[in-house]
Symmetry: C3
Amino acid sequence: MPTLSQDGPQDRRVWTLHLGDDENRFSPAFLDEVDGFLADLAASSEPAVLVTTGGGKFFSNGLDLDWLGAHPERLGEYVARVQGVFERVLTLPVPTVAALNGHAFGAGAMLAMAHDHRVMRTERGYVCFPEVDILIPFTPGMNALVMSKLTPRAAVDAMTTGHRFGAEEALAAGIVDATAEVEDLHEAAAARVRHLAGKDRATLGTIKQRMFADVVAALRLPEA
Amino acid sequence: MPTLSQDGPQDRRVWTLHLGDDENRFSPAFLDEVDGFLADLAASSEPAVLVTTGGGKFFSNGLDLDWLGAHPERLGEYVARVQGVFERVLTLPVPTVAALNGHAFGAGAMLAMAHDHRVMRTERGYVCFPEVDILIPFTPGMNALVMSKLTPRAAVDAMTTGHRFGAEEALAAGIVDATAEVEDLHEAAAARVRHLAGKDRATLGTIKQRMFADVVAALRLPEA
Amino acid sequence: MPTLSQDGPQDRRVWTLHLGDDENRFSPAFLDEVDGFLADLAASSEPAVLVTTGGGKFFSNGLDLDWLGAHPERLGEYVARVQGVFERVLTLPVPTVAALNGHAFGAGAMLAMAHDHRVMRTERGYVCFPEVDILIPFTPGMNALVMSKLTPRAAVDAMTTGHRFGAEEALAAGIVDATAEVEDLHEAAAARVRHLAGKDRATLGTIKQRMFADVVAALRLPEA
């Protein structure tokens, strides 16, 4: 299950949301934990940045399809909950960066896209939107989220092919912003935003709300 | 006039829409043929990809201005028909690639942009949006289509200057995704999508519909 | 205060809007002058392009915060006036280029973004959106303007960090399109558009209106 920790000096505090050492799929309990951690961070007031990462082979494999298979009647509620987490990360009033320690698939990749920045470990792991292969089209909200962070070329490549992007390919496509060896990954991610801790939260929150107003509106649409 | 042919193994069938060996302008009869071919492809169910290309010096020179000059009262109907073809290609539920064998001008260039991918022959031929020079502004639908596939920089360069982009320039601007010598062009185009044949059509169609929902809406606007 | 001058042959006239040799902040009198010059250019009919530049260390430092501090009750009217200038430049029916001779901060950087092209002097000067640091979020119109000219990556970097982009960094991010030494700056800027003088103004104006219809709508929103 996810954990939240802090390190660094008071004026440039790095909060690390660690998604876990497993597949880190979005079970309802997982979403509750993440939501709570994001609320804790939002309720704090000291200079802070967020690094989201995981241990082991996965950043996150996304939706908890086993749980969904057992609770098909709760699909709409579940998707709304997942999209609520995407919205919270997308508009979090502190700088955010995803440190991709391993595979980021589907909703796991979307969670990464919701951050301001992305750094990916070299050598292992893929970013992949398998929606076209698992017969689950992007919801309008997920569609808007991914498209808002990619060039038109990268959006077609990422969203219509199911291609697995290794670190170098993901960097070339602009899906991630930098790569780092796994032992340097957390620091490489933190270093991209640490100097931005202390930005006025109300201002930064409003800037992100306006930049992504259409995405937020789409993420709030009820699932048909 | 256009022709449609198939080749390759059953599980990765390449359908080639050959626009013709002339200027391949969009006469009403030409549009009827293309529409029929796209309907045939859409009605099939085997794994398939679409390569659109032409012979000779032109991919397509776009609107049939001679016909339009003789039938000015049918402008609205004609533009709606052209935009209907753009919509069908843009949202076709199979992977698509334009193989630019020669000049792609105006609506001919837009037809190329409607595809998922574009490969352009080296040495000869230009991609050009001459709208600013022939005093025909992009319709809102054409505007939305071209902008949906280009970076902001490339959109201003392509849409406000009438510049003729040779293959290297078009590649640098991201107007095309790759270049190939003319004898390798069809295979270079097919190779970009052949492995994607067999994607579930309903899923891929829905993904494209959602990615380009605003473009589709604009393409359906009646011409003022 | 700003001045307007012309040079070059009749068929490729370069109009230069010189913003001044000071900080070139947008006082009401400054906005009146610029508005009048843009109206003069719009009312002319000869082939023309616009180069906007300044002297000294600044292109423009943007909003006149001293004046605003003295007239807080006129904020809404003032912002509407600034955004009106952005709209006029954004949709001016002649090719436009900003030649960044020095610092372009805040609304000064936005003015540059409203042009079709941007060239920046090497060695000195920064492009910067300090909104996040001065606690003034982008208005919806300013947000739409800046986002319409940048890739998603560059938009997050420019709009959420307050980063000062030197010429090389601004070029790498696509915030500017070229750099030039200061003594070559005006000519480098003019050379990017001079050959485009003579484009039909009604057509070019309509093309820009349609490309940036959403930005224009947002720039016309009343400030809350």
